[in-house]
């Protein structure tokens, strides 16, 4: 009991400090905005108004949902394939020799080119192209991270599992996966923010729905306060994701890294 109270107190303190930090950033923004024209740098007040307008319009929720679903789809695909590829390439030199250069290639090709290819392959299909771009951008990151995670796995435990005749699957799920969990969490955290950004970009380039499209439209139409309002939305979504999903995950993962 005593512990859980003091732990909660610590959490509260942390939250307070974090909030204070963010408030300082906010104040800086307010201050900076005073010196600039709203078209250049809108103030929090103007941004708030724009945000409210978006909310009333109803475009806020629908766009966020569209982008979120695309992100989740592309990101989970990428995380899954990244993990599978990492396990595969870790196992055999052949696959490693084959897969690594191709992934390096995928990583190097800039998103612009992917959008060109996406137009060729998927036409103007509204959903496929962004999901594809998210996948393609997130995959190498997931792969590299998982791969380096696999390096850190305790070979002695794997030997133990081999002696005691654990199946390949069991070894993966019960030793590789748990050992990867801390890695996994950091990968997921980087991967999601990556995928989210890629989604924005993809919608920016070749879609007619989603936050990215709205953001780009606002940007091209010089509606700077709308741009900032969308950014606040992005921040809110990612903060929810960070503190609602990743932080609890991270806390759980602490168990494994013990």
């Amino acid at each position: 009991m005593a512990i859980s109270i003091s732990r909660r107190k610590g959490e509260f303190q942390k939250l307070a400090i974090g909030t204070a930090g963010l408030l300082v950033v906010f104040a800086c923004w307010s201050r900076l905005a005073e010196n600039y024209h709203p078209l250049i740098l809108p103030s929090p007040h103007e941004t708030g108004k724009a945000l409210l307008a978006l909310w009333k319009e109803g475009s806020l929720v629908s766009n966020v949902l569209v982008t979120l679903s695309r992100t989740l789809c592309g990101c989970s695909l990428a995380l899954f394939s990244g993990f599978a590829l990492a396990v595969l390439t870790k196992g055999t030199t052949f696959w490693q020799a084959l897969v690594r250069p191709i992934l390096t290639l995928i990583q190097i090709i800039p998103p612009v080119v992917w959008t060109v290819l996406a137009v060729i392959w998927f036409g103007i299909a509204d959903h496929v192209a962004p999901v594809f771009l998210i996948f393609v951008v997130t995959l190498p990151v997931a792969f590299v991270s998982f791969f380096s995670g696999l390096d850190s796995i305790d070979g002695q435990l794997v030997e133990m599992a081999a002696v005691y005749r654990c199946s390949r699957l069991k070894t993966i799920t019960e030793i590789y996966l748990p050992a990867l969990i801390p890695h996994f969490v950091s990968t997921v955290s980087v991967g999601i923010s990556f995928a989210w950004k890629a989604a924005i970009f993809a919608e920016f380039m070749g879609s007619t729905t989603g936050v990215g499209f709205a953001l780009s439209t606002a940007n091209s139409n010089l509606q700077t306060e709308k741009v900032f309002a969308w950014v606040l939305v992005l921040i809110a979504v990612m903060l929810v994701c960070e503190y609602g999903l990743l932080t609890p995950l991270r806390r759980r993962a602490a168990r494994w890294s013990a």
């Binding site: 137009v119 103007i124 091209s220 010089l222």
Partner: protein, 293 residues
């Protein structure tokens, strides 16, 4: 004369060719130099104008008007591009806007000038907007999708039109946007697209210099019209577009400077129509007299 540099930002458009010509001719008074920055980023241009880092800006007339109405200190020196956009169709000839019913039409920017024009025409030709499948794609990706046969129609600016016509044999140059505007406005086929803007403070302090620049600009326009080949060469150098292509596209671009009063009338004609559709696009009202230098 004091040795100073005049900073100009412009997207890669023929509207800046006269200025490049002026720069290369070296006709300006001693010690005055032009520094021309080619950039697509209007936002950046306006930021730099408002912070005083930039003196002149070539950008859309509606962009300038919006900035002006929102309180950014700039003035329109002249309007230079009056015609540049066309409706291309894929594999069929659209005789009128009615023919687009049930088709996919690609436009570059929702809430932008072409979006307005398309909707304006469609509406005025009695087309039900719900019958049109709008696809908002950046021009380059739009053009690609069009050439892959994935779109029925697209409104493109030059030189994108020329490129597409040259490379996609299904492409049909169906409608001239400027002509269409004329059909609805007593034959007036000029649409004010691109203008040259000056930073307000700079204009006040150097009104003679701005006048001079405007004068030279006009000469530059004449030069471009009389030397399409050399002008295309200049564009090739500065925008990286093939000269032959630019030269070909010049034939479909209406580059001209008209007296400010005449220009103002044309601008207000356009803006009045815009007010019914996207008032936001020009900042919610017609710009007042101080907008015009």
């Amino acid at each position: 004369e004091e040795g100073r540099k005049i900073f100009i930002q412009s997207p890669p458009t023929v509207g800046v060719l006269p200025l490049i010509w002026v720069q290369e001719q070296g006709v300006l008074p001693r010690g005055i130099d032009l520094e021309i920055i080619i950039s697509q980023d209007h936002q950046r241009g306006l930021s730099l104008i408002s912070s005083g880092d930039l003196d002149l800006l070539v950008t859309g007339v509606n962009v300038g008007a919006k900035a002006y109405n929102r309180g950014i200190d700039l003035q329109l020196v002249n309007t230079n591009i009056w015609g540049i956009d066309y409706l291309l169709t894929s594999g069929f000839q659209a005789e009128s806007w009615k023919d687009l019913e049930g088709r996919t039409l690609s436009l570059p920017l929702q809430g932008g000038p072409l979006d307005f024009l398309a909707r304006y025409f469609l509406h005025n030709h009695g087309v039900d907007l719900d019958q049109i499948d709008f696809a908002y794609l950046p021009s380059n990706n739009g053009a690609r999708a069009f050439q892959l046969g994935r779109l029925d129609a697209i409104i493109l600016p030059e030189p994108m039109v020329t490129i597409t016509l040259n490379n996609y044999d299904q492409a049909v140059l169906s409608l001239d946007i400027q002509e269409e505007w004329g059909k609805l406005h007593a034959g007036e086929e000029r649409i004010p697209f691109v203008g040259l803007f000056v930073q307000g403070g700079f204009a006040k302090e150097n009104s003679e210099l701005v006048d001079l620049l405007h004068q030279y600009y006009q000469e530059g326009v004449d030069w471009v019209q009389s030397h399409p080949e050399a002008a295309a060469e200049l564009a090739a150098q500065h925008f990286g577009q093939p000269a032959a292509l630019v030269q070909e596209s010049l034939g479909r671009i209406h580059l001209q400077v008209y007296p400010q009063d005449e220009a103002r009338e044309l601008i207000e004609l356009l803006f009045t129509e815009i007010m019914d559709y996207y008032p936001e696009m020009i900042g919610g009202r017609l710009p007042d007299g101080d907008f015009y230098f």
